[in-house]
Symmetry: C2
Subunit: 310 residues, 2 copies
């Protein structure tokens, strides 16, 4: 068994990621008590009922009291407000972290409110599903996935090492980089993919000559994969795009440029260009599987839900 | 057990779809002998070794002899050539079909070469994985998925009914529509999704400030899903885009228009528009799951490959 690393952990927000941290930390046996907070009464009730936290408070200020590790797990749009609210209540020596999908704006919103003696280390586990809420979490969510930490140059090294160790025990690999570089990398590996998934689902829903029912029935040709990503939490994603504007707009500009090249090749029947670009794209998939970031099973290992044959 | 519907079936091309038809038809017990053809010696050897066909011929002309059902399962770019080649060898009364992802151009390429007494019914099973070749097939591929048939107005009704029954026994649902409508529907549910998946993977691979290795490591944030689709067969997809140009360009134009709206909302910090459009997109996912076209399990039921925790 592992030793207890933190006697008391406070999860501010108990959705998919907060609840998964609770499951994974208990599995690892590295935490004493876990408390949490949510402004939503139903979430508080569910989190206590599921044993995710021993106590779910209404306010973050109450939850952080005496906590050795505080992790913000709400949509990033409210981080600034929470940081101001918890400031007077943070325990000296505590580590303050988060799981937000954008890092430069998060550091900007939180860092000015961190009291002396509290160690702020921003973080982002690159893991998730399209589901939300305290019931969506599970202990294996972080296994084999990467967690990126973006400490500032003057952050206490012991605190960084401790948080890194915490994430490793949750099952993650850990990498440290600057908030700005994080936002660029995630812009292309996560934010733009989500944006185009949201977009194509809405494009499909607003066609005059193809019904929604047809879009749904014949979605197994590729579209259904996009609907999964587009089922992610709208408020969380709104905040991501509002807070990683520059990187997303840059990546989106490149995506659109490249798409115009393909569009032109289709218009002029340039099969050579199409085949070459499609062949190049195929190679990256092998890298993803070799790096253990996806299953090599065909179709993600999905199988039809029911067999109609006998 | 089912009765034998076709004494001899010829699969022209024995890749993912051809081999899956063989598996599913044998599972259903509805065919006598299955033969096939491939211009690739390794494919012929593998198809015979796996028992997908009793005999794999080098030419389509040899394979179609005495076949009651002939299904073209090659990339659609060579359909015209195959249709001319097999014309003198088709058995009177035989049904000729295909599995191509585009239908108007396929009907245009094949119909003129179909001899009197042979019944041509174009078809398209909306099913697949990102893998290719004779080893990629499996019997369950069509279970619960849709197969679209696009017969011409004067096609023999008995032949249509027989082919429909064949696909149902392979596990499919069957819908009949015009080739033109098929191409519009698949343009948005399959062709454009593949194009943007190919495209974002290439955009990511050509960034100066983010390495390929970073793109791969941090792909679990959404990008990895696109790499799966972008791993599909380049030649097959080249032919799809060359042959469904009008519908794809129309759908792509709408996709790009809609993307500009999102881009502008991000640029001007219009969170209300973002949240509204993301919320709308979420609803379609529920429809896909209710229609049995995808699993409701989070993240397609994927779980990390290995647990590092003890």
């Amino acid at each position: 068994m592992n030793d207890v690393m933190f006697k008391r952990v406070a999860l501010i927000g108990i959705g998919l990621i907060g609840s998964s941290i609770s499951h994974a930390a208990r599995r690892a046996g590295i935490v004493g008590e876990i408390v949490g907070s949510s402004s939503t009464p139903a979430t508080r009730a569910k989190a206590e009922e599921l044993g995710l936290v021993t106590r779910a408070y209404e306010t973050a200020a109450e939850a952080v009291k005496d906590a050795d590790l505080v992790i913000l797990c709400t949509p990033i749009g409210v981080y600034g407000k929470i940081a101001r609210e918890i400031r007077p209540h943070l325990k000296p020596g505590a580590i303050l972290s988060d799981v937000g999908s954008v890092k430069a704006s998060v550091v900007r919103d939180i860092a000015p409110h961190v009291p002396d003696g509290v160690h702020f280390v921003a973080g982002h586990p690159i893991a998730g599903t399209e589901q939300s809420g305290p019931e969506a979490g599970f202990a294996e969510l972080f296994d084999g996935r990467w967690c990126i930490l973006t400490p500032e140059p003057d952050t206490d090294r012991m605190a960084i090492a401790q948080l890194e160790s915490f994430w490793r025990k949750l099952g993650s690999e850990v990498e440290i980089m600057s908030p700005e570089h994080h936002d660029l990398v995630l812009g292309i590996t996560s934010h733009v993919p989500h944006l185009i998934a949201f977009n194509i689902v809405n494009t499909a829903a607003h066609l005059e000559r193809v019904t929604d029912s047809e879009v749904i029935k014949f979605s197994a040709g590729g579209f259904r994969d996009f609907t999964r990503i587009a089922a992610s939490d709208p408020v969380m994603w709104r905040d991501v795009f509002l807070n990683n504007k520059d990187a997303v707009l840059e990546m989106l500009g490149r995506f659109s440029e490249d798409l115009v090249v393909l569009q032109r090749a289709i218009r002029f029947g340039d099969g050579e260009t199409l085949e070459r670009l499609f062949t190049e794209a195929r190679a990256i998939r092998r890298g993803v599987i070799q790096a253990g970031q996806d299953t090599g099973a065909p179709d993600f290992g999905r199988r039809p839900q029911s067999s109609k044959d006998s």
